[in-house]
Structure formats: structure tokens, C-alpha cells
């Protein structure tokens, strides 16, 4: 199966009080015994440094609003992931670092101090991730949290939008330690599947990553890049794109150009937001809740 799940079908899967998505529809298995309830938050595509009044005249304040919105959650997440394009690209290496320093300072105001960063092409493609690594560390890595194995895949430091053989080999080795039924969450920037290749919404060797992940029965991918909520299955692997925190983009292929959707002064910050992801013990499902920032 390889198909988009539209909003209506997605909501059919919803449970009361949240949107519940079964990440392993074809292979439901009991989760790892060590898994416990927790939730985390996904922020994506903040593009700090972007200037474009038609798309977002509040660009200098949007990231701060997002930080405030997360801080206002009644219960704070256990950690926060940023799925790329933290900063807007620039040809000037010094300016790139200045934007990354400002971004880091702004997000330091988050109450939650466990932050996981990954790059987008705007952060990393012009210098192959050099500045990003100086500020935020490795561009690909894995970690475990309460029974879930998280894998951050870098598909942007190569300006061709590829993962590359070395990282794919690392992915294979990383997965060797994992039970095939253990919940796995993949974090990345670009879609791993061919969502809209003529808009460059794809990863050149993404299929290889999906093939490597396919034997694992409970895999869910959270990504960014396309500046909108989107849900699609490749086999039993669910892929969920997050909204942006700078400007929304049109639905894949819905118009000739992938130009930003213009700012709506009557509804400021419309189409922007972040995502809360709840993981339940003894379940392969995640509850996704989309949160506005205004």
C-alpha cells in the first residue's frame, strides 16, 4: 500500500479526544514491554531569518510566539524535536551562524530543556551541514525513550537531497540492535517517499531507507519540508508531515508553483502550528494533536 490518507479518512481513525493514528496498520503487535506513556512535541520549518512580508509580515516574532505557545501547554512534553529548516538559508557563512545563534537563543526560552535538532536544506545544504554541526551537533543520530527507538535521518546535508550510502549503512547497523516489533520513530526533514518530485518534495535515495525500515513492524516517520500537515502510508509505515512556523505551502501539485500561501491579515498565523505526539504504553498507536500558535 502506498497512499495518501486524506483528512476525512484520517479522522475516521480518530479516537475521542485526539487524532489517533495506528502506525502499524498491517502488522499490529504488542508494543515493547518497556514502553511507557509519554508525549513529545514536533516543531518544524521555523526559517529564522526569513524576510517576506507577503508570506509572513510577523516573521521576526513567529518563532517567539511558537515558544510561548509550547510553554503555555498545561503539561510540558518530555522533549521537543525540530525537524529542520531552523533557519532560512543565506549565502553568507557569517550570517548563517548569526541566524543559528539567534535561533538557539530564542528556543533556549523553552521550558523543556531536552531539545533534539535536525537540519533542513536551508540550514545545511550550502555548507554540507558544517555550521549546523557547530551549533546543534550531529545531523543524524538515534536515541531511545521509554521503549521507543528514535532515529534522526539527515537527507539535506547533501545538496542533492540524498541520505547517502554511509548514512544508509549506519541506519542498517543501528537497526540491528532493534527487535522487529519495537516501536521506531524516524525523524527527518524531506519526505522519504516521492510525494511531489517536480516540487523537489522527495529524497533521492529515500526508497532505500524505507526498504531498510520495512522489516520493522512499528515504524512511524515525522518530517517537515512541505509546510503543511500531510499523512501517507508506504506499506505499513506511516509518514506525517508537520505544519511550518513561517508560512504554509499549497497542497502537493494543487497549483503550478509551490509558492507560499499569502498571509491572511484577517487570520494572522493561519496554517502555522506545531504538533503534540502522544505515545501510549502497550500500543503501536500515536495520538497526534495539531496546535495553533495564535
Amino acid at each position: 500500500m502506498h497512499g495518501e490518507i486524506d483528512r476525512r479518512d484520517f479522522l475516521k481513525l480518530a479516537g475521542l479526544g485526539g487524532v489517533v493514528f495506528a502506525s502499524g496498520l498491517g502488522h499490529m503487535q504488542p508494543a515493547d514491554a518497556a514502553q511507557q506513556d509519554f508525549f513529545f512535541v514536533q516543531l518544524s520549518d521555523t526559517h529564522w531569518g526569513f524576510k517576506g512580508p507577503a508570506a509572513n509580515p510577523e516573521a521576526d516574532h513567529t518563532l517567539q510566539k511558537a515558544v510561548a505557545a509550547v510553554n503555555s501547554l498545561a503539561k510540558q512534553p518530555e522533549f521537543i524535536v525540530f525537524t529542520g529548516d531552523l533557519t532560512h538559508t543565506t549565502d553568507d557563512d557569517q550570517e548563517r551562524r548569526r541566524r543559528m545563534a539567534q535561533f538557539r537563543e530564542i528556543v533556549s526560552e523553552l521550558k523543556v530543556k531536552t531539545l533534539r535538532f535536525m537540519p533542513g536544506e536551508h540550514d545545511a545544504s550550502l555548507d554540507e551541514g558544517k555550521a549546523f554541526q557547530e551549533f546543534f551537533g550531529a545531523t543524524h543520530y538515534s536515541f531511545d525513550h521509554k521503549g521507543v527507538h528514535f532515529i534522526a535521518i539527515d537527507n539535506v546535508s547533501d545538496p542533492q537531497g540524498a541520505i547517502g550510502k554511509a548514512q544508509l549503512d549506519w541506519l542498517r547497523a543501528d537497526l540491528k540492535q532493534i527487535n522487529q516489533t519495537q516501536p521506531i520513530v524516524v525523524l527527518t526533514h524531506r519526505p522519504l517517499f516521492d510525494l511531489q518530485p517536480d516540487w523537489d518534495w522527495a529524497t533521492r535515495d529515500g526508497k532505500e531507507a524505507i526498504d531498510i525500515l520495512m522489516p520493522y513492524q512499528n515504524v512511524t516517520v515525522f518530517y517537515g519540508h512541505i509546510h503543511q500537515e500531510h499523512h501517507q502510508m508506504t506499506g505499513h509505515i506511516a509518514h506525517h508531515a508537520a505544519k511550518s512556523l513561517i508560512f504554509p505551502l499549497p497542497a502537493p501539485g494543487s497549483q503550478p508553483k509551490r509558492a507560499p500561501i499569502p498571509w491572511d491579515a484577517s487570520q494572522p498565523f493561519k496554517g502555522l502550528g506545531f504538533r503534540q505526539i502522544d505515545a501510549k504504553a502497550n500500543s503501536t498507536s500515536y495520538s497526534l494533536t495539531e496546535k495553533p500558535i495564535a
Partner: protein, 121 residues
């Protein structure tokens, strides 16, 4: 401009069209040639009209840095390197308007770097 030759671009038999990449193959005298120049953040021209069934060679150049050329409808992609000319042969077998884009991130404005191939009867 020096014409360089690379061997990494392979002959591709696409399902939808006959497509070949080359930087070396001589052109047949009857082949139509369309030249496209990539530069940040445009292709010139950004609209090309072809006829269905008519063999054509797209000659791709860049005037500044490395760019990509991706035309998914005909399963075409190529790297366009400085000081090289990349030839892409296609025989369009379907009518319509098809998008191409740069798929080598080249800076602010990369997302707007695209164009269309219009194939007519």
C-alpha cells in the same frame, strides 16, 4: 565554454518516453536542439514547447554554479555542472504540460527555480 564529458549519466529507457542523457553523443542532423541555461534561480527559457513524437535534444548549461534538472513526467534528471553541457534526449509520447525543477539546493530562491515543458499534437 569548454564542453566536458561525463560518464555518469546513463542511457535511460523510460516507460513514458524514450530518453537518453549524454554529454558526448553527436547529434543527428535532423534532431531538434533546445538550449536551456540554468542560473540562480531561473532556467532560460523556462517554458519549452515540443511536439509529441518529435525527437529533441535538450542541451543544459549553467552560468554560475551546479544545478539540477528534474523532469519527472519523462523520468529525466541530470546534474548540470559548470563548464559542461549536458545533453538529454527525449521523444515525448504524451500531450500536456509538465513541470521541471532544480533539485540541487542552490540557495534562497531555489524553490522558485522551475519551468514547464508543453507537449502539443
Amino acid at each position: 565554454m569548454r564542453i566536458g564529458f561525463t560518464t555518469s549519466l546513463a542511457l535511460i529507457a523510460a516507460v513514458a518516453a524514450a530518453v537518453a542523457y549524454s554529454t558526448a553523443a553527436p547529434r543527428a542532423a535532423t534532431e531538434r536542439v533546445v538550449q536551456l541555461t540554468a542560473s540562480r534561480f531561473t532556467y532560460a527559457p523556462d517554458k519549452v514547447t515540443l511536439k509529441v513524437g518529435e525527437p529533441v535534444v535538450l542541451e543544459l548549461r549553467t552560468s554560475d554554479r551546479k544545478h539540477g534538472f528534474k523532469l519527472p513526467a519523462f523520468d529525466v534528471r541530470a546534474d548540470v555542472e559548470p563548464d559542461q553541457v549536458v545533453q538529454v534526449r527525449i521523444v515525448p509520447d504524451k500531450v500536456g504540460t509538465f513541470s521541471f525543477a532544480c533539485d540541487q539546493f542552490c540557495g534562497s530562491g531555489h524553490e522558485e527555480m522551475d519551468g514547464t515543458i508543453v507537449v502539443t499534437e
